[in-house]
Amino acid sequence: MSIELRNIAKKFGDFVAVDNISLHIETGELVALLGLSGSGKTTLLRIIAGLETPDTGEVLFHGEDASAVSVRERKVGFVFQHYALFRHMTVFENVAFGLRVIPRRARPAEAAIARRVHELLKLVQLDFLADRYPSQLSGGQRQRVALARTLAVEPKVLLLDEPFGALDAKVRQELRRWLRRLHDEIKITSVFVTHDQEEALELANRIVVMNQGRIEQIGSAEEVYHHPANAFVYNFLGNVNLFHGRIENGRVFLGDTAVELENTHAHAHPETGKAILYVRPHLLEIVMKPNGKQTFPATVKSINPAGPQVKIELVAEWGDMVQVEIDHERYQALHLEPGANVFLRPKEQKLFVYSI
């Protein structure tokens, strides 16, 4: 089922949670609402579910206005951040809940309910835990039970609020991959909320980057990562170095050093010429000799060689901290030591410069 949001706005007191958002989600899509806490992403998700009523605007399911449709009747599956499993019920009863509350006339027979529940528990690979209580499960298991419980009522739309927020990094990765496979299998229109850009990039067909109740950019992982619409998106998706600089005659100057960087994205403040420049750590190169005005001097502060890339922290000549990631071969060739004076060179000209 497709979801259409039209001019949705929601205020809590003076706080604008959602500010006039319109969004279309296709049938079968897996969409991430990505943003910091307070960006309005969870409120938007709850509005789609009908758990929150928007002040203005409408929600359409499959082209039909759902504003008057209650939560019960929306056929929306909602997985809560802390799972909200019923603690006094076994895993089996939790998953069966949605089937047991169907009015008696339409309710499946006990045998059919049992069959469906076991089918779902097999789908989430937890059939062996059917008789346990939620308190006896690990976080990852609870999450999967919550998902099975939601799927039991055959929702047309699946909404997940920070689905992996409360889990260990390792379990999170596993579940992420598992959810991706599950979605490929059952093709249900899904929207999930996350503050973890990596999660959004890995999992979603499309990412909606939100900030202060508004949408900053909508696009595939590739689009938002490589073609960010603005500095916020660039800054939010992945690590960045932030430099304060000036722009004069279309050229960027960093600190007092006149580093010239050709830049097509440069938009400086019209009067002061001040700008903020963003560069990802892996887009900076360390060289031992200056190269005209394309490099700037820096001093190595610390080196962390653990991981697929070597993370090096430097201090630029004008005092800003700079993070650089280089591969191990390059690191060995450079013979870097803390205290070494080196030069940094942006690898590509596609830097983000934002006026302040």
Binding site: F97, G98, V101
Partner: protein, 277 residues
């Protein structure tokens, strides 16, 4: 789940605190109560039996336990509603109502008894409208139940309130998204989560009502065989210097209450164990 008894605590002092607990309970609870038993042992079996099983005593047991259970049950239902509205809704005067709940704790029970009697007597504010309907509250068993309901109310409200505050609204939302009606959500999701607290509240209100004396003497009229509660019967035995007879009845009361409270306690533990997160 296996618990390790020799766990290393950050704060030492298990021996000290347990010793203190035992000494304290011994002085405050056990020694006074044991004297009741010792006094009772001065009776022979036939004397004991005559004291605890006379028709007048049996009638008093029946009224005391019956009215206490009735009062605790009424409180469980209405105390729950009071706790619910205090936790779930914001309304003007909320903190005032919150304070009012504690009034039965603070009010001298005799004052409560006199007030209730004045209101429910045949010519009182409420009693005058009930009398034509043939409902007699003051000087009747019903009056005893009313007084015992009054003194027990805070227990139920105050035990349910914190549990209800902790009960995340997410559970109700989850039930709603799964298609449950409001009634189903309440019966299947909310009520089971509150049962341990409700049982505790019930047990406390019941125990409080069993021992209640001050408010009951005024509203009941104290007619033997009819509106005489056990604490009053004990009092009148004492006034006749029948100390052993009084303690014998007390022993029976004590034993039965202990068994009932133990039962409720075990029920409460059993139901809360499943909820342990």
């Amino acid at each position: 789940m296996a618990t390790n008894t020799k766990r290393n605590n950050v704060l030492p002092g298990f021996g000290l605190t347990l010793g203190f607990t035992l000494a304290y309970l011994g002085i405050v609870v056990l020694i006074p109560i044991s004297t009741i038993f010792f006094k009772t042992f001065t009776l022979t079996w036939p004397q004991f039996w005559a004291a605890v099983a006379s028709p007048r005593t049996i009638a008093a047991y029946r009224l005391s336990f019956g009215a206490s259970i009735a009062g605790a049950l009424v409180n469980s239902v209405f105390g729950f509603i009071v706790a619910w509205s205090l936790v779930r809704y914001e309304f003007p005067g909320k903190s005032l109502i919150d304070v009012m709940v504690d009034l039965p704790f603070a009010l001298p029970t005799s004052v409560a008894g006199i007030t209730l009697t004045a209101i429910y007597a045949g010519n009182g504010w409420i009693g005058r409208y009930l009398a034509p309907l043939g409902i007699k509250v003051a000087y009747a068993p019903l009056g005893v139940a009313v007084a015992l309901t009054f003194v027990g109310l805070p227990f139920v409200v105050r035990t349910i309130q914190p549990v209800l505050e902790d009960l995340d609204q997410e559970y109700e939302e989850a039930a709603a998204t799964l298609g449950a009606s409001r009634l189903q959500t309440f019966v299947l999701v909310i009520a089971p989560a509150l049962i341990p607290a409700l049982l505790t509240g019930f047990a406390l209100a019941f125990a409080r009502a069993l021992g209640e004396y001050g408010s009951v003497v005024f509203i009941s009229g104290n007619m033997p065989m009819h509106t005489e509660v056990v604490p009053l019967l004990i009092m009148s035995k004492l006034e006749q210097f029948d100390y052993a007879g009084a303690t014998a009845i007390a022993v029976v009361m004590l034993t039965v209450s202990f068994v009932i409270l133990l039962g409720v306690n075990m029920l409460q533990r059993w139901s809360s164990r499943r909820l342990a997160a």
